[in-house]
């Protein structure tokens, strides 16, 4: 991963009055697997279509292999796309679909045949050449679409939710296959999905988009462990997000106050200052509870529910102000019974601090901090 | 295909366009003409003379021969729509029987040449089923005839007949008189089952109507001998409309000489006989010229004798714009009536 192959510079896209992509800046390295992740309607497809040249940016510039996309027609580029709904040609069989790009380029027949068969083997569809598209299942169609794009040996492959229509089982299988193909062929993948688990499994880097804004672009681990914004924290995996202000800050630790209690987080580079509004994100599996108060923490809640999900049990704990906190435990671990009151806390390095502006009732927070909170039971 | 029409006037025409009434002519006769002269005949059929005017006035349609109604000759001549015929080339004109009238507006037959013997718009009734004896035009309004009357839908024929019946002139342009005629027609209309464009034959034959004011007594008689005894023309106190048809060449035609050749050919006894055999009709030509070409007993057709009788008791008017628009307004009102 070295040279930049695709770069978006200050890209903006408007559809009429609808601002769909906002000042996007991304550099994609050769051979990279980059995923665009975000909720429905956030602009992922639009971004992809701009890279493929089917849409032009309203402002800003997109370069592929150092050349502005505006200069070339879609059919003159080394970029191929796997469309969300496959977009296979219904009037052709599997072979003809895969061979399409080569036929257009007038590659000799023998070579076409050889390359198509090789490609079909790669996607494990040997013997399917003669099949009509309508006779293929979702997963098979998807592999045809991939083969059809890959056979042109593109420099960049764009994939728009290629697994969206498949069921869980098949999706898992295909994720692994796709990732392998990408490594094997060394092609740059720009991959769109709204399935966060998929993004985390497959990508070298993930770009998280929210309403047209690039919120964060980073490796899966960093995105998961160090979300930069509340949106990212909430979107990637489950998270308990608590708005707070900094009450004290010393010894690389900060005490933060919420409307319902107090907590402590790390502040290794002393970047927090008293009265800073911050949010803390704690994953359900990192949220701990005890029957007695823990030093530095002052969050009380009542266990409302146990929910079984496979070998995990989710405990739903309601704080005084109604906020719901999720705590995940394995079946083998200890649980708190429903109706019981518990104190919540986290290991200091598991409370991720997000520095975003928000509104917290500062007075209320200080009141709590004053120690009044212990009385109200029930 | 298309495009053959624009050959020059001096050069030889390889085809002519003719506009004729349906049910009068024989396409076999036209084909014989083609065989003889090599000139192809494109036939179009009229359903109304006014249609011809529209097409000629707009000048988009290029006819070489038209089959013109007597009532319109004057209008056509006055508006320079017709070309003068070269009577020298119409050698067969001499075959025409005596007493075939010239059209109003072209008394000298400079522009027109008769193509059929006169016809009459008469009241034809079914002797068996007609419930009353018809002695005057207004008898058609008799309630006993409710739903049994068929009528032509030509304005001049209707209003002319009504005006004559009221004692006015068929060509009257006086509002009050036309209005009175309209009132009469309105009363008759309550009895009318159908207004017909060209022929009431089917209405009379299938028993739908027992009386008809129509043009085609002769066709009726020709259709089947049964009709000879079954139908008759009512003897009424006012005159019937006479109509003649004339060949003429539109001024816009570029193939006048071919057109004249055609007209002349259609005055040949064998050509006309073919038409009579197919459609019937009183012979236009002198009996001694044509009789041998016609089937035996052709002259026994009662219509021929009837028509000779009617000739003395008939009227014929030349229509013009004012007349048409006056009658048309009333006609619309008449038709708007429930």
């Amino acid at each position: 991963m070295s040279k930049t192959i695709v770069s978006l510079m200050n890209v903006e896209k408007w559809y009429g009055d609808n601002h769909v992509v906002k000042n996007m800046n991304v550099n994609i390295a050769e051979g990279e697997f980059l995923t665009l992740l975000g909720p429905s309607g956030c602009g992922k497809t639009t971004t992809l279509r701009m890279i493929s040249g089917f849409e032009l940016p309203t402002m800003g510039m997109i370069k592929v292999q150092g050349e502005s996309v505006e200069k070339k027609e879609p059919y003159q580029r080394d970029v191929n796309t796997v469309f969300q709904n496959y977009a296979l040609f219904p009037n052709m069989n599997v072979f003809d679909n895969v061979a399409y790009g080569l036929k257009v380029k007038k590659v000799p027949k023998d070579e076409i045949k050889e390359r198509v068969l090789h490609m079909l083997k790669l996607v494990q569809l040997e013997g399917f050449e003669k099949r009509r598209i309508t006779q293929m299942s979702g997963g098979q169609k998807q592999r045809v679409a991939i083969a059809r794009a890959l056979i042109n040996r593109p420099k960049v492959l764009l994939l728009d939710e290629p697994l969206g229509a498949l069921d869980l089982k098949l999706r898992k299988q295909m994720q692994i296959e796709l990732k392998r193909l990408q490594k094997k062929l060394g092609i740059t993948f720009v991959y769109v999905t709204h399935d966060q688990e998929e993004a985390l499994t497959m990508s070298d880097r993930i770009a998280i988009i929210n309403q047209g804004v690039l919120e964060q672009i980073d490796t899966p681990i960093n995105i998961y462990q160090h979300p930069k914004t509340k949106f990212v924290a909430g979107f990637i995996g489950e998270s308990n997000i608590l708005d707070a202000i900094v009450l004290e800050d010393h010894d690389h630790k900060a005490v933060i106050g919420m409307e319902v209690g107090r907590g402590t987080v790390e502040d290794p580079d002393d970047s927090l200052a008293v009265n800073d509004p911050v949010s803390v994100s704690v994953r359900p599996e990192n949220m701990l509870f005890s029957e007695t108060p823990i030093e530095g923490f002052n969050l009380k809640g009542v266990v409302k529910e146990h929910i079984y999900v496979g070998n995990i049990i989710k405990m739903m704990i309601t704080l005084n102000d109604g906020t719901e906190i999720k705590v995940n435990r394995f079946r083998s671990e200890d649980l708190a019974d429903i109706g019981k009151m518990v104190y919540l806390y986290w290991e200091l390095d598991k409370g991720v601090v997000i520095k975003e502006k928000h509104l917290v009732n500062t007075d209320a927070v200080r009141d709590i901090e004053g120690g009044v909170a212990d009385d109200e039971d029930e | 295909g298309c495009g053959s029409s624009k050959s020059s006037s001096s050069g030889k025409a390889d085809s002519i366009n003719i506009l004729v009434w349906e049910g009068t002519w024989s396409e076999d006769a036209f084909k014989d003409f083609t065989k003889k002269t090599g000139i192809k005949v494109n036939v179009s059929y009229i359903d109304n003379t006014d249609t011809i005017i529209s097409k000629l006035v707009e000048g988009n349609a290029n006819y070489d021969v038209i089959d013109l109604e007597s009532a319109y000759v004057k209008t056509f001549v006055d508006n320079d729509l017709l070309a003068k015929l070269d009577n020298k080339s119409l050698t067969n004109k001499k075959n025409i029987a005596d007493g075939i009238p010239a059209a109003t507006g072209d008394e000298k037959m400079e522009y027109t040449c008769p193509d059929m013997a006169p016809g009459y718009t008469g009241i034809v009734y079914n002797k068996e089923t007609c419930p009353i004896k018809i002695t005057k035009f207004s008898d058609l309004a008799d309630p006993k005839l409710k739903g049994q009357v068929a009528m032509v839908n030509s304005t001049i024929s209707l209003y002319g007949a009504a005006l004559e019946a009221l004692g006015y002139k068929a060509s009257s342009k006086k509002e009050s008189e036309v209005k009175e005629a309209n009132e009469l027609l309105k009363r008759i209309k309550t009895n009318v089952k159908a207004f017909v464009g060209e022929s009431a034959v089917s209405q009379l034959e299938n028993g739908e109507c027992s009386v008809a004011l129509c043009w085609d007594y002769i066709t009726l008689c020709n259709d089947s001998k049964d009709n000879w005894d079954k139908f008759a023309v009512a003897d009424i106190d006012s005159d019937y409309e006479m109509f003649c048809q004339y060949w003429s060449v539109p001024a816009s035609s570029e193939k006048k000489s071919a057109a004249e050749k055609f007209i002349n050919y259609m005055l040949e006894p064998d050509a006309l006989a073919k038409c009579y055999k197919e459609n019937g009709g009183a012979p236009l030509l002198k009996a001694d010229v044509i009789k041998s070409y016609l089937p035996d007993g052709y002259y026994d057709n009662p219509a021929i004798a009837e028509y000779e009788k009617l000739e003395k008791k008939s009227w014929c008017v030349a229509v013009d714009d004012d007349l048409i628009s006056l009658m048309d307004t009333y006609y619309t009102e008449l038709m708007g009536e429930d």
Partner: protein, 305 residues
């Protein structure tokens, strides 16, 4: 909230620049594709209507020639009571035809929409085939069937169901039967497509919620297929007013319809400007109906099946 407002303010100056960019070749391709139909519709649809409008303000000259003198008279003329009766008659016939066509066509459309795709295709073709051959010859067959000695009367007489032949021909009954025959297939098509489009799940949902078949039809099926019905109404009502052959052939010509009236102006009466004015008024009424139709949520595409 405030954040997005800020962004909108920032974005405003650029608004003019925000046009969709398209490459030259995309434009060229779209010109080649859209060109012919655009030229066609301008030359042979829009231009004719403009000319018609123009003509409607001209004056009638001798022999039906048009004199290019501006006048409103043709429109004023229409307010004569004579024309009211013609319009009234046309409306009565057209309304009856439309009503019956829709009533007869809807169940048929529903049937065709609910059979297998292939069968529905075959039924549609079978339905259109008689008109494919020749509408006029078929109409003439009605004359043969309906007259006093015609097939139907003979049949009924032979069965001794009637003593005297019925008056079936040359009246409004015959006209309406003929009109229904001519327009039923065209009315069925849009109703068919809107019934086919109707989500069958909604009918099940209604039944699921306790509504019986009648209630379900009135509250769900009917309102949701109303665009199709309206399209059928338009496709029957409009040609009914303009189609003069049926009244001519089966009505005995005793009643004049607006279509006949217009036809007469361009042929027999040779009053083109007045004919144009009549046609214009008709066109305007129709455009208004279409406007309402689209406002009601109708799709113009349904008109062509």
């Amino acid at each position: 909230m405030t954040k997005t407002n800020e962004e909108q303010l920032l974005a405003k100056p650029n608004k003019r620049k925000r046009k969709d960019k398209k490459s030259f070749k995309t434009r060229l391709a779209s010109i080649i594709m859209c060109g012919p139909i655009s030229v066609w519709s301008v030359l042979f649809i829009i231009l004719p209507i403009i000319l018609l409008a123009f003509m409607s303000f001209m004056t009638k000259g001798p022999l039906g020639r048009v004199v290019y003198k501006f006048t409103f008279e043709n429109y004023a003329e229409m307010f004569k009571p004579v024309y009211f009766t013609v319009i009234k008659q046309s409306l009565i016939i057209a309304l009856w035809t439309t009503l019956l066509t829709v009533l007869l066509g809807y169940p048929l459309a529903a049937f065709i929409a609910n059979v297998k795709k292939k069968t529905s295709g075959i039924l549609t073709v079978l339905m259109m085939l008689p008109l494919w051959v020749s509408g006029l010859v078929i109409l003439y067959s009605f004359v043969i069937m309906l007259n006093k000695t015609g097939v139907i009367n003979q049949f009924l007489l032979n069965l001794h169901l009637i003593k005297k032949p019925l008056n079936l021909l040359y009246n409004n009954f015959a006209v309406i039967v003929g009109m229904i025959y001519m327009f039923l297939p065209f009315a069925v098509l849009p109703m068919f497509s809107s019934i086919e489009k109707l989500d069958k799940g909604l009918i099940e949902a209604s039944k699921d919620l306790g509504a019986g078949p009648v209630k379900t039809f009135m509250k769900v099926t009917l309102p949701l297929t109303s665009p199709g019905i309206f399209a059928a109404v338009i496709l029957t009502f409009i040609p009914c007013i303009g189609y003069y052959m049926v009244t001519d052939m089966l009505g005995g010509g005793t009643n004049m319809m607006v279509g006949n009236l217009i036809y007469r102006q361009f042929t027999i009466s040779r009053n083109w400007p007045f004919g144009a004015a009549l046609a214009m008024v008709l066109a305007i009424v129709i455009f208004l109906m279409l406007f309402i139709y689209t406002k009601l949520g109708g799709d113009l595409d349904d008109l062509g099946a």
